[in-house]
Every structure is written in C-alpha cells, then in structure tokens.
Amino acid sequence: MEILVCVKRVPDTAENEINVSRDGSDIERGDLVYSVNEWDNYAVEEAIQIRDKVGGSITVVSVGDGDAEEVLRREMAMGADKGILLSDESFTGSDGKGIARIIKAEVEKGSYDLILTGAQADDGAGQIGGLLAAMLDWPYASLVNKLEVLDDKRIKVGREIAGGNQEMNEMDLPCVLSIQTGINEPRYVGIRGIRKVASVEIPVHKASDLGLAPESVGAAGAKVKRLDYFRPELGEGAEMLEGSAEEKLEKLVEILKTKGGLK
C-alpha cells in the first residue's frame, strides 16, 4: 500500500503562551517551541502500522517554508520512508482550498492508495482532508479512530461521532481519511532515529514543479483571507484567587464547602 501522510509544523500550544504581535499581523514567533501537529503523529503512526502489516511505503508531505523540513525529518525518524516539502513564495496566503490544490498536484505525480491527514491543526479548521478528497474525487471519512485494511481495494474505518459512539463504514481505495487522536499510541522517536535520517535528502517541489499556476494558489487564489490576529474578547472570566499558595488553598476549600464540592 502506498500511503501519503500530510503533516504540518505548528507552535506547540501546550508549551507556549501564544501572543499577538504588536501590529496584529501575526503571532509573536520569537520564542515559540514548534512541533509536529499532534493529530499528524497519530496519522503517521497508523500509516506505519498499516505498512508493517501489508507492505508498501509511506511518504510524508508538508506545505510550508524551509523550517517544515524538520517535521518531515522527525516523521521519517518515526518510520516514514520518504519526505517531500512543497514550498514556494507563491504559496503564501493560501486558504484551505489553496493548500489542498497544492497537495493534489503532488498526489497526481505519484500513485497513492491512501492519504491520511490529522483531524485538525493549529487553526482548528479540520479542512484539508475533506477538500483534497473532493478535488481528487476520492471518498473521504473524517475523524477516523479505527482502521482495518480488508484487501487491496477496501478498508474498514470507524469514525468518531457524538457521545463516544463510533460509526463503522466500509470504503473503497484510494481514499482520504482524517485521523483522530486515540486511534493508536504514536511511538517514541529517539535521538538515534533522528540522527539516522539527519542527512537524507528531502526534495523540495515548487509551484513550477507541480504545474501550478501561481494565481490558483496563495493570496491570489484565496477566497478566504486572513486580515489580522487579535486577543480574544474576554468574557467576564473567573474570579482569580490571589495571595500565597496557602491563602489560595484556604479560600478554595471554603468555596468548595459552600458550593457543595465536599461531601
């Protein structure tokens, strides 16, 4: 099975406090810790498990600037066979459809049976898999948390639906799936693995390599454009307990008592 996994380099929101730059044109990127989008690790892990079971190979692909190479390398250290970076000045300002168009052009250069994406990334939009599938005219399932290869033409997938229930479907290959967390436990990537792929060459494909007209991607091709970043309007918010740790404890226990939090 030839599997393509789309991955993205994102600021790690568990590690960082994200702030808006003074003029609102971007977030402050100076001291940010970046990592692979959490959901993408689950997608790569799933791809590895499939390949190890039925054979084939895994390509990880990312649309981004030169720095995105580091996440491709990390996923290769995890077990992906090959990485491709899609990078061009003209890609800047692409909306979701633009990104999907760029990836579609790469997909058409290869011959893939299965494409996996993370369920969502830092913007929460969860759009690339569904857009890409429709552009390719391939079937799609979102929020997949179970996957079983039936034969070389069909897979069985479980989709997450509300309330912890799961919807089982059978799908034809080739198809696109967005992978939800919980499907597996992504393996640990050790320093040795990282070293092993440190010098592997990662091809960079530009708009011209992909046969993309510059006006079809980037800000030129985007119907949805980002205007600015801003601090969310804060609601009333919590009453914050102040003072020493001891004082906070006393106040909190008092509150828990009056609100029925201690039985």
Binding site: G164, K248, L262
Partner: protein, 328 residues
C-alpha cells in the same frame, strides 16, 4: 445581496439539535432581511417531526427523505445537495462530527468559498464577510475575510452564536426528496455498516455530584494517584479531558466533552485542562466550575467561576491535605 442562505439541521430521531437555532442567528447576521431555508435530511417517520420542529424557526424547510439517508452519509447527502442547491448559495453547517465530514467536500463541489469553524460574524462589505475564528486552542483570535460572491460553505462552531428562541414562525415544508434523488443515489464508495455504542464504564460520571477532572497538565500516569486521592477525600468522582483517554490512562467513559460525556455536577474542578471548546461542550450549564492551571491565559479561565494559577503537581497534594484537615 440576493444569494439564498441555507442552514443544515442536525436531527436525530425526530428531534433537531440546538445548533439549528444557532444557525438562525448566524444567518441573520449575514442578511437580516433574507429568508433562511433549513435543510433537513433523513429517512422514516421521525423525519416529519424534525421538519415541523425546524419550521418553527425557519421560513422554509427543505425535506430530503431517502432510505440511503437512514444513517446520514456525508458522501450521499453531498451528492443530493449539489443537485438541489441554487448556484452561489450560502450554506451554514454546524462544525461538529457530521459537519466536518460534509462541509469541505460540499464547498469543492459547489465551487464555493470554504470558511470553517467560524465563531462570529462582524460585517459584510462589498460582498466580503468579515468573520472571527479562534486559533491555537483558543489562545488567539483572527479576523478572516470570506468572498461570498461565488457562494460559500461556512461551518459554525456550536455554542458560539446565541440560539434564536423566537420560534414565531410556521414555516413551509417543501419536499425536495425527488429532485435530490432524481439521477439516482449518489456516492457508493463509502458504505455504512453500523454504529458501535460507547462502552459503559464502572462509574457513571453523568450522575456525579462533584467531579475532579484532570487534563494533560498531569503529565504522567503515575500522577493520577494524587488525583484519585483528592477525589476520595472530597467524595468526588474522577473525570478527564481527552488526551488522558487517548493515552489510555483512564477509560473512555470518564471523558468529558463533545465526543465524551455531558456532565452536570454541582461542582466541576478542572485540573490542568486548557478549556478547548470540545471539552467545554461537555460542561455547559454546570453551576460551578473551578479551574487550576499554571498558565494565567488558559482559555478555561474565561468560563470558570473561580480560577487558581498554580502548578497542579504541587497544588493537588496540598489541597488534599487541606481538605483532610477541614473535614477532620
């Protein structure tokens, strides 16, 4: 603006989802004068009930009935919608499990703009809608401009628009089933098999009066021991956010949120939980929420009643000790 606005209604067993009323408010922000049409799809007897319920809030309801929609399949429904939706329509869809499945592909097939996960609309100038989205787990917001001229598919985050409760309408139900299936049933490449119901755990957290809920801030499975101890002295049950279940540290039945349980305790103590909207979706209407987080800007402090900025790894044992003292 002459474009028609449509709202996709999530319905189950003849009952429409809360988001149905939220989409009315969202649509009115795009065009307060426009008549908004509800799209209600499904099969069987209960569909009529869902349609009439929707008709209390929408001027027009398009009923799309087909056996193939008995369990709604995004691929089948998309094919049907593409046949019946007028050119350049604006389609609003809830940003939840089914909406995320349906919406992006629909935007491609309608050749419309795609704006996912909107939490607010500010204005329209020259056919461009200025919308708000939250990014980076709710830590920052962003304004987006969406060109509506060629139509648009927009998903709306549940709970971000107030539900329009006016319910004064007696809308007209129009049966679009024949048109939608005129060329046969679209899409057979994804076939529904069954729904597997959530496992039942040893504790039913939906019945708990007090919940001590723990998130990724707990860092290590071993640290759950201190959470159990705190819950024990408080007389509470232990719940959690999703990453804890994903790591298999606690069973799925303890997960609070849109893809977990909706809980109604008197007091909800959230420890090391950032407050993603999917998590908060499970504690709507909880009378008292206390949050402890080391990041003073964690979004959960916006919805909690009381907040404490502390490292939970130190705070939990100290709190356990204090509760013990107080209870004697």
């Amino acid at each position: 603006m002459t474009q028609q606005i449509f709202a996709y209604i999530i319905q189950k067993g003849g009952k429409i989802d809360d988001t149905a009323l939220e989409l009315v408010s969202a649509a009115k922000k795009i065009n307060s004068a426009s008549s908004v049409t509800a799209l209600v799809a499904g099969a069987g007897e209960t569909l009529a009930a869902a349609c009439s319920q929707a008709a209390a809030s929408y001027e027009t309801v398009w009923k799309i009935e087909n056996e193939a929609l008995a369990h709604v399949n995004a691929e089948v429904l998309r094919g049907m919608l593409v046949r019946i939706l007028p050119k350049e329509s604006i389609v609003l869809i809830p940003h939840e499990h089914f909406g995320m499945d349906l919406a992006p592909g629909l935007a491609v097939k309608l050749d419309a703009a795609y704006l996912p996960d909107a939490v607010g609309f500010e204005e329209i100038t020259e056919g461009k809608l200025k919308a708000v989205r939250e990014e980076y787990s709710g830590q920052v917001s962003t304004h987006l401009s969406c060109d509506l001229s060629g139509g648009a598919v927009i998903t709306i985050r549940p709970g971000s628009f107030a539900g329009d409760e006016s319910k004064a309408l007696s809308g007209q139900v129009v049966n679009k089933s024949a048109d939608a299936a005129a060329e046969g049933i679209p899409g057979k490449s994804r076939r529904f098999i069954e729904v597997v119901a959530a496992e039942v755990g040893d504790v039913d957290i939906t019945k708990s009066e007090v919940l001590v809920s723990v998130g990724r801030g707990i860092e290590d499975q071993e640290n759950l021991e201190m959470v159990n101890e705190l819950a024990a002295v408080m007389g509470a049950d232990v719940a959690c956010s999703r990453p804890i279940v994903d790591a298999k540290w606690l069973e799925k039945s303890r997960q609070v949120g849109t893809s977990g349980q909706t809980v109604k305790p008197k007091v909800y103590l959230a420890l090391g939980i950032s407050g993603s909207f999917q998590h908060m979706g499970g504690i709507k209407g909880v009378p008292y929420i206390v949050a402890v987080n080391k990041n003073p800007k964690a979004p959960i402090f916006q919805v909690a009643d009381v907040g404490v900025v502390e490292n939970i790894l130190e705070f939990i044992p100290a709190l356990t000790q204090k509760v013990k003292e107080v209870k004697g």
